[in-house]
C-alpha cells in the first residue's frame, strides 16, 4: 500500500509518502502499527488522527485493497 503523511505526522516519520508491504487483511490500524515500529513518536498521535483510503475518510478497520493509498489525516485547520 501507499502511505501518505502530513503535518506533524510527516515530520515525526520523516517522510511524506512511503510504500509498505502488508499482509492480506491489512487495515489502516495495522498499517499504522507498522509505521509506529519505524517511528516510535507516532503512536501518541493516533488519538488525534483520522484515516482515509483512496481520498475518502474511512474507519480504522476498513479493509485495504492491493495498491490502496492510506492517508493519516491530522486535525484539519484550514480557513
Amino acid at each position: 500500500v501507499q502511505v501518505r503523511l502530513f503535518a506533524r505526522a510527516r515530520e515525526v516519520v520523516g517522510a511524506r509518502a512511503l510504500e509498505l508491504e502488508v499482509e492480506a487483511g491489512a487495515t489502516p490500524a495495522s498499517v499504522f502499527e507498522l509505521l509506529c515500529r519505524r517511528a516510535a513518536g507516532l503512536a501518541e498521535m493516533r488519538r488525534i488522527l483520522r484515516c482515509a483510503v483512496d481520498e475518502e475518510y474511512v474507519d480504522w478497520s476498513a479493509p485495504l485493497h492491493d495498491g490502496a493509498e492510506v492517508a493519516f489525516i491530522p486535525p484539519t485547520a484550514g480557513g
Binding site: A7, P74, A77, G78
Partner: protein, 137 residues
C-alpha cells in the same frame, strides 16, 4: 487539480467580481486573513499544507452539496497553501444567490465545513519556534 488550492496570493476582490449574475440580489463572502496572535502568543506567520488531491475533491463535493441545500447561483472558493505573512488572505469564499439568506447560510456552512472536514493543516510560526495546530481553536 480543480484549482481550489493555490500557492499564489488570493485576490478576494477579483473572486467576488466574477460572481453575481443579473438575477442575483446577494453576494455573501468570507475572507480569512492571517492574524498576528493566537491565545496571547505573537504569531509571525503561517504555513498551510494539504492532502491536495483529497482536499480538491472534498471542496468540489462541498460546493456541490451547498448548491443542493440552498438555492444559490454560483460559488467561488480559493484556499492558500505554503507560507503566509500577517494580513495575507488564507481563504476566500463567495456565494451569489437571488436573496441574502441562502447566500449567507451557504457561505457560513462552507467555511465551517471546510475547517472541520477538508484535509488542510496549519503551522504557526513564533519568534522562538513553530507548531502544528492540532486542536479546535
Amino acid at each position: 487539480m480543480m484549482g481550489y488550492l493555490t500557492r499564489d496570493p488570493i485576490d478576494a476582490a477579483a473572486l467576488m467580481r466574477e460572481l453575481p449574475g443579473p438575477a442575483d440580489g446577494a453576494l455573501a463572502t468570507f475572507v480569512g486573513v492571517v492574524r498576528d496572535n493566537q491565545d496571547g502568543r505573537a504569531v509571525l506567520g503561517l504555513e498551510y499544507e494539504a492532502h491536495e488531491d483529497m482536499a480538491e475533491r472534498q471542496l468540489a463535493r462541498l460546493i456541490e452539496e451547498a448548491r443542493h441545500r440552498w438555492p444559490v447561483s454560483s460559488v467561488a472558493l480559493r484556499h492558500r497553501l505554503g507560507a503566509l505573512g500577517i494580513g495575507e488572505v488564507s481563504v476566500a469564499i463567495a456565494v451569489a444567490a437571488p436573496h441574502r439568506n441562502e447566500a449567507l447560510e451557504a457561505c457560513r456552512w462552507l467555511i465551517d465545513t471546510l475547517k472541520a472536514q477538508v484535509p488542510i493543516f496549519k503551522k504557526e510560526r513564533y519568534a522562538d519556534g513553530a507548531a502544528w495546530i492540532e486542536a479546535d481553536p
